[in-house]
Amino acid sequence: MLGLLGPNGAGKTTVVRVLATLLKPDAGTASVTGLDVVRDAAKLRERIGLAGQYAAVDENLTGLENLTMVGRLYGMRRQQAKARGRELLERFDLDEAADRPVKTYSGGMRRRLDLADALVAKPPVLFLDEPTTGLDPRSRLNLWETIEGLVADGATVLLTTQYLDEADRLADTIAVIDHGKVIAEGTSDELKDRVGGERLEVRLDDGADVEAAVQALAPMSDERPVAEDGLVKLSVRERHGTIVEAVRRLSEAGVGVDDLVIRRPTLDDVFLSLTGHAAEEPAEGDEAA
């Protein structure tokens, strides 16, 4: 699974739309499973499944009718499409809702049905465009488990997300994109290594002198510590002795400490150091959908 990670407006959806043959590239070429997205578009469509940001299901049809329709549009016979639909509904835990119109479904159920739609023809390549955006935490976890199951079954998946924890958990390889360009690529661990070893986070007492704390801690890191809302973060060269040293330096500087922790860098840190802005920070303009 390849995770495409980037903020709103980075171009994730555009990439998916080009690869899923929905959008012609302005310039350059792209191919999926060796098929060109423009020249071999018709053949390529038989090999891909798309689940979008907006659950693209027909609200006035039942779950089973939706899946049967998609199956038949893939060229299956009615009975075959229906059987496949039932199979998928069971797998996605929707069998009880099979004959209810989709407008009665919850957000999580719709996403699962959307995902099932994408799987009808057992395509070898799946595009999941922000599959969990707007879901509550439980449905999100649920969907993650489902997606992990698909990958375990051997599907090739391209996942776009603006959530770092999602990419971290699901993707084998992550490409970070910003303003339409890939700015980093690698496994989650490789990306974290690029940011440098351990991270030290110091929560200061209320009213403590933040600038003094930054000054005091600066010699411990190759970069200047970042401070926000009374939290000072820095990457440190070594784990050993770090806490003792930090406490010593801060007490010499007369800065009160509330809490202090060492952790591995998260993809948040990766994003911050790669782009200079936090992942959640919305870029200008809306996503070109």
């Binding site: 739309r17 899923a20 043959t21 929905l22 959008l23 018709a42 053949k43 469509r45 038989e46 891909i48 499944g49 798309l50 979008g52 940001q53 907006y54 659950a55 693209a56 299901v57 027909d58 609200e59 006035n60 049809l61 009718e65 329709m69 998609v70 038949r72 549009l73 893939y74 060229g75 119109p101 739609d117 959908a289």
Partner: protein, 258 residues
């Protein structure tokens, strides 16, 4: 080609299955037209002059059915617009289905809904005194065929509209701003000879007048002459399809989704 036919039927079936589940839409082309028929027959009818001493109910029914058939394609505009916004068009475009099938299925299912509203209006008409006067069964059937063809042509106009406008509300206002005057300033409700000169000139060249007059000839017989109306409306319908179907399909290929 076989793919186009089966895919079109799958989409048409989908449109028809979901129809009874959106009752507001169903009311729009059954109850609402009936109210208009009653309004014109009983409220305005007594004050409207008709040519050849035809009873107004006879004059009215072919006209109002044509108006309703013209509006029938509205289901296509609304449905396509909704599909674009809900992302369903993206799904369809990512499937290995025949490209024009989504539109062809839409317009095809309109034929069924148009037949339904035609039946409702004709039965209403017969109840309130309409009769097929000096005509033969073959001409009545030819009239039904002509209505189906004309309705199908107009569905393609609405298909383009549904893909172009930003919301179902704009599709709605297009219907009223463009189609309403076109149908009223024609021979559908009042004979153009009783209109002011400017309106009369417009009504006489309006394609709706041609099709309404063709329908009157086919359903009322003499004293409404065949003239060029019947073949004229066939030509108009074919021209409309030839222009709007390719435009709509081209637009569909580029529809960008949400």
């Amino acid at each position: 080609m076989r793919r186009l036919v089966t895919d079109t039927l799958v989409i048409a079936e989908r449109n028809l299955v979901r129809l009874p589940r959106a009752p507001d839409l169903l009311l729009a082309f059954t109850v609402q037209p009936v109210m208009f028929v009653l309004l014109f027959r009983y409220v305005f009818g007594g004050a409207i002059r008709t040519p050849h001493g035809t009873p107004y109910v006879d004059y009215l029914i072919p006209g109002i059915i044509v108006q309703n058939i013209a509006f029938g394609g509205f289901v296509t505009a609304l449905g396509l617009n909704e599909d674009v916004h809900k992302g369903l068009i993206d799904r369809f475009r990512s499937l290995p289905m025949a490209r024009p099938a989504v539109l062809a299925g839409r317009t095809f299912s309109d034929i069924v809904t148009n037949l339904l509203s035609m039946t409702v209006l004709t039965i209403t008409g017969l109840i309130i005194g309409f009769s097929f006067r000096h005509t033969i069964p073959l001409d009545v059937i030819a009239g039904i065929g002509l209505l189906v063809l004309f309705g199908y042509a107009f569905s393609w106009v609405f298909a383009l509209v549904g893909l172009l406008v930003s919301s179902p509300e704009s599709a709605n206002s297009f219907g009223f701003i463009a189609v309403f005057p076109l149908t009223f300033i024609s021979s559908a409700f009042v004979s153009p000879q009783f209109m002011p000169a400017a309106l009369k000139a417009f009504a006489n060249v309006n394609p709706f007048t041609i099709i309404v007059d063709a329908m009157r000839h086919l359903w009322l017989g003499n004293p409404y002459p065949a003239g060029n109306y019947v073949w004229g409306s066939v030509v108009w319908s074919i021209v409309i399809i030839a222009v709007f179907a390719p435009l709509a399909v081209r637009r569909y290929r580029r529809a960008a989704g949400v």
